[in-house]
Amino acid sequence: MKLREGNGHRRLPMLMLALIAAIGLVAAACSSTTPKSTASTATISTSTKGSITFWTWVKDMDKEVALFNKKYPNIKVNVVNAGQGSDEYKKLQTALKAGKGAPDVAQIEYQYVPTFTITNSLLDLAPYGASALQAKFVDWAWGQVAKDGKVFAIPQDTGPMGMLYRQDLFDKYGIAVPKTWDEFAAAAKTLHDKDPKVYLTDLPPNEPGAYVGLEWQAGARPFDVQKTDTVGVSLNDTAAKKVSAYWSGLVKDGTVATDPDFTDAWYQGLASGKYATWLTAAWGPLFLQGTAKATAGKWRVAPLPQWSAGEQAAGNWGGSTTAVTKQTKQPAAAAAFAMFLNSDPQSAALLNTDQSLFPATKALLNDPTFLGQKLDFYGGQTVNQTFADVSSTVVTSFQWSPFQDYVFSEFNDTVGAAFTKKGDLDAALDSWQGAVVKYAKEQGFTVP
């Protein structure tokens, strides 16, 4: 009788963990070579040769690669989808730790760039001419990838936040587009009172990126990293408390939904009119257009409500960069690709038109064709214009921690869990802060 196999697959994780650890040891023992000094290879020319691997979860990059190969015919690019966001980072970190198996070039979101620079895993692209690209990109995006004359990644796309709303529902329930958060709260109550099945918005408890984007807008500065071994943590600063007190009220009154996003129930909620707005990033409009086809023409776009009338501030949610890992054996080729992909005007334009990414380059953000594009899904509104305007109001000085994976994962168990239970957000914010400080100290950081 094969009894042992019975519950066998439940015990896989423990075994796998041990196995992975063992593989790591072997791999680390085999390859302790570091990439050669960059000084001698820092020149990139169109005859640069090589074969590089690129990890990205952006689909169908063939056209951009073809464009790249027109200029650099001797560099072969292997595009691999190693999972989206956190899934990719887990693999990337394991491979980096193991000493081999990491790609030459990888897609990394802004908030995770410091997580990879703290382990010294990303190649400084300044010697390859990346500093010259600074003027091409929007300031706050560049501020997230460059530090002290070093450039650790090239901005690929951005996610300044705005508000998508259902004009038909607003009309039906007699709601004006809220310009301030106070108006937003009042509208949430009106709407929910008139129809208990409809919520003005959904506050996803599993989406720290979106929530931090809202805090960003309010002026919160959760992290302050001046030196590599020192990290200031203020996840519960005054601005953060203002945001949490505000949403606490709405969540407790039940006038906003707290459904996890990007789940089946959430998609159905968007399509069925359960949520009258989606507070999202600039990549949201095209995404929504693809997922809630039946609601075409009913949506409109507006900037986020403001904390005080007349103000114009925005936060950012998501957006990615292209970085070169230190494991690369062909730093010049890899750097050439990372820079070309995002800064070549044609390639950057393709990223927008074909991959629905919201641009990070100033040229595109000022391009009349891009700005004037009318989307039928949004009743012919020039959606890009709205978000381009928002992009210029994103506050520049915003920093991420060098262990963002942990910070976001802990968010789900503290602040996110409080949304779900309609509990005390204020206390949750404090325990989030406490957990992160404890982790930072354990990791050897000085926390002032």
């Binding site: 009788m1 009894l3 019975g6 519950n7 697959h9 439940r10 015990r11 896989l12 994780p13 423990m14 075994l15 963990l17 041990a18 196995l19 650890a21 063992a22 040891l25 956190s86 887990k90 970190q93 394991t94 730790k97 703290i118 382990t119 408890p205 599993n206 590599t228 071994d229 459904d259 996890p260 789940t263 089946d264 129930a265 159905q268 909620g269 359960k274 060098p402 262990f403 994976d405 942990y406 994962s409 802990e410 789900n412 168990d413 996110g416 869990a417 949304f419 779900t420 239970k421 982790y439 354990e442 990791q443 050897g444 950081f445």
Partner: protein
């Protein structure tokens, strides 16, 4: 009551035919034996002993983002003992153990007795249907049930709506553990049933004949012959279930995708170890925690075996 099924767990060494004694012969016999098991031993050492030893080794260190790797001695283990998240996870699994496992095993015994009774129409079909969920990968099973449980548009909710009642949110904090218990029961009841059924088939016909001669009806036969025969197998399946329960991983990790704020990062000890290792990059601590979990399993299993065999000795 001695039956052939007893051999499953505690087979008294059967009297072997006497052999000529002598050290030389013994040695040669030993060598040949090892030769036969060598392929297994090699694989066992490479795939089990070595990783385990390495994990034990790493658990004595601490790698930090600032300051690199330092020897930490038993510090990681001390920390595990005081880790509230770990304790909560173990207690949650203990609750799961004392509710889910008895329900699953009782159901499995009931199904096995029903099929063995020969009174079912299409016993083969019934047997296969109950066993079939075991063939479904647990990730797929969890995804499927996650969809069925869906609070706003899931079939269960919709059915309840049509009947005019309100279904509870099966993915909420209070219901999550029972919901997972249901998935696990669904997956493994058939597997345990097959074990019990095999034991029942192995009961010698003479016992039934003797029972019939003594005038025992089907219920008496079930209570006095079949159930005692199942005892050792019951002990065995219970042990597997204890081990399986404490290592619960796939189901909660899939349910995390549909209820991300109910299943937290330390919902089960295995999930916690995974998150520590791959989200927090704290491999050393994860290794120590895994060993602590192993110790918990050993203790609980040993306690179970002790109680189970004592009861058995008494009866």
């Amino acid at each position: 009551m001695a039956s052939s099924a007893d051999t499953l767990v505690t087979a008294p060494p059967a009297a072997l035919p006497r052999r000529r004694k002598g050290p030389r012969r013994k040695a040669r016999r030993g060598r040949a034996g090892y030769l036969f098991v060598a392929p297994f031993l090699l694989f066992f050492a490479a795939a089990f002993i070595a990783p385990l030893a390495y994990a034990a080794y790493t658990s004595l260190f601490r790698t930090r983002l600032v300051g690199g790797t330092v020897f930490a001695g038993l510090q990681n283990y001390r920390e595990v003992l005081h880790d509230q998240a770990f304790r909560d996870g173990v207690l949650r699994m203990a609750r799961f153990l004392v509710t889910q496992v008895p329900i699953m095993l009782v159901l499995a015994v009931a199904f096995a007795l029903a099929i063995d009774s020969g009174r079912l129409w299409g016993p083969r079909f019934v047997r296969l249907s109950i066993f079939l969920p075991y063939a479904v990968p647990s990730a797929v099973a969890a995804l499927m049930w996650g969809y069925l449980y869906g609070p706003s548009f899931g079939p269960i909710t919709q059915l309840a709506d049509n009947l005019g009642v309100t279904a509870p949110n099966l993915l909420s904090g209070g219901w999550m553990l029972p919901s997972i218990a249901n998935i696990v029961t669904w997956e493994f009841v058939g597997y345990n049933m097959i074990i019990f059924y095999a034991v029942l088939r192995a009961i010698p016909a003479e016992l039934y004949e003797a029972a019939a001669v003594d005038g025992a009806g089907p219920v008496r036969v079930a209570v006095h012959i079949k159930l005692p025969a199942l005892r050792p197998a019951l002990g065995l399946t219970a042990i597997f279930s204890i081990i399986g329960t404490f290592q619960l991983f796939t189901e909660p990790s899939i349910m995390h995708t549909v209820a991300p704020n109910v299943i937290n990062r330390s919902y089960t000890p295995s999930l916690y170890a995974y998150n520590l290792a791959f989200t927090d990059q704290r491999l050393n601590y994860a290794a120590a925690l895994s060993f602590a979990m192993g110790a918990v399993i050993v203790i609980v299993t040993a306690a179970f075996v002790l109680v189970f065999s004592r009861r058995r000795a008494r009866s």
